[in-house]
């Protein structure tokens, strides 16, 4: 059975748990999805978002920061220093606004497009369940920008 249209999320009013409704042509099919053995409340689901590293959210922050700071500018040796500083600062400000119990490390590399080869790698010794990272590769006509953000749960 394939869900035909949107999936709606609502709350079962009889016993409080989150339910998923698959709208299926003219019929509704209700499927209960309990997360744990005990009844989960809406609060449990909300708090999960506040304590996990969400890659999409962080990725958006990175893209917005780079677009704002660099945009369509051409590579200029005299300005690159200022750009790298601004990008990491912008990212960090947005990340701290998320108000999550995380420590963050933001790393930014800007390289002129000159035919040179560049390889980067990273490895982490952390708690796989709570910590995460996000790397975005961005480019314009004259430079490559690689930004990595590592989030470590407190």
């Amino acid at each position: 059975m394939v869900p035909f249209q949107n999936v709606f999320v609502g709350e079962d009013l009889i016993c409080p748990r989150r339910v998923h409704l698959f709208y299926f042509e003219d019929n509704f099919i209700v499927i209960l999805v309990p997360v744990s053995a005990t009844l989960a409340t809406m609060d449990d689901f909300l708090s999960e978002d506040k304590t996990t590293f969400i890659v999409e959210e962080v990725s958006k922050i990175i893209k917005d920061s780079v677009e704002t700071v660099i945009g369509e500018n051409s590579y200029k040796h005299g300005r690159v220093n200022q750009w790298t500083t601004s990008v990491v600062e912008q990212c960090l400000i947005q990340l701290s606004k998320l108000d999550k119990p995380f420590k963050f490390i933001v790393n930014c590399i800007i390289m002129q497009k000159n035919g040179a080869g560049l390889q980067t790698a990273s490895t982490c010794f952390w708690d796989n369940a709570t910590d995460g990272s996000c790397t975005v590769r961005w480019e314009n006509d004259t430079m490559y920008v690689i930004i990595s953000i590592f989030g470590l749960a407190i």
Partner: protein, 111 residues
């Protein structure tokens, strides 16, 4: 060439640890596109295993960049939102005739 921030346990001895990690993998080689993938992976792995052996209550992040020398400009920056009294970082820049290598380690204290 080598710099470390704050007097946490990372700074002491970490820069030589990273230096030997790089030297053992890249020493004597010229930049090669076919091998560079393997090199960066080996460098980060080697550095991390040495750091973990110190047996301190830290989480580590090791990053490595290898760039071919062709006259292109390269800038890197990093910024950290953490506990400045307990956490720290160390960055080492290494080069030979054909390539640059920059390795950074970030150590975050487990509360």
């Amino acid at each position: 060439m080598e710099e470390y921030q704050n007097g946490s346990e990372v700074g002491v001895g970490a820069d030589s640890l990273l230096w030997f990690g790089i030297e053992s993998v890249l020493g004597g080689d010229d930049y090669s596109q076919t091998h560079v993938n393997k090199w960066t992976a080996a460098i980060v792995e080697r550095c991390l295993t040495q750091l973990v052996k110190i047996n301190k209550p830290y989480k580590y992040i090791v990053t490595c960049s290898v760039m071919q020398k062709t006259g292109a400009g390269l800038h890197t920056a990093n910024s950290c939102y953490w506990d400045t009294s307990m956490d720290g970082s160390c960055t080492v820049r290494w080069e030979n005739r054909t390539m640059y290598c920059v390795v950074s380690v970030f150590a975050v204290c487990i509360a």
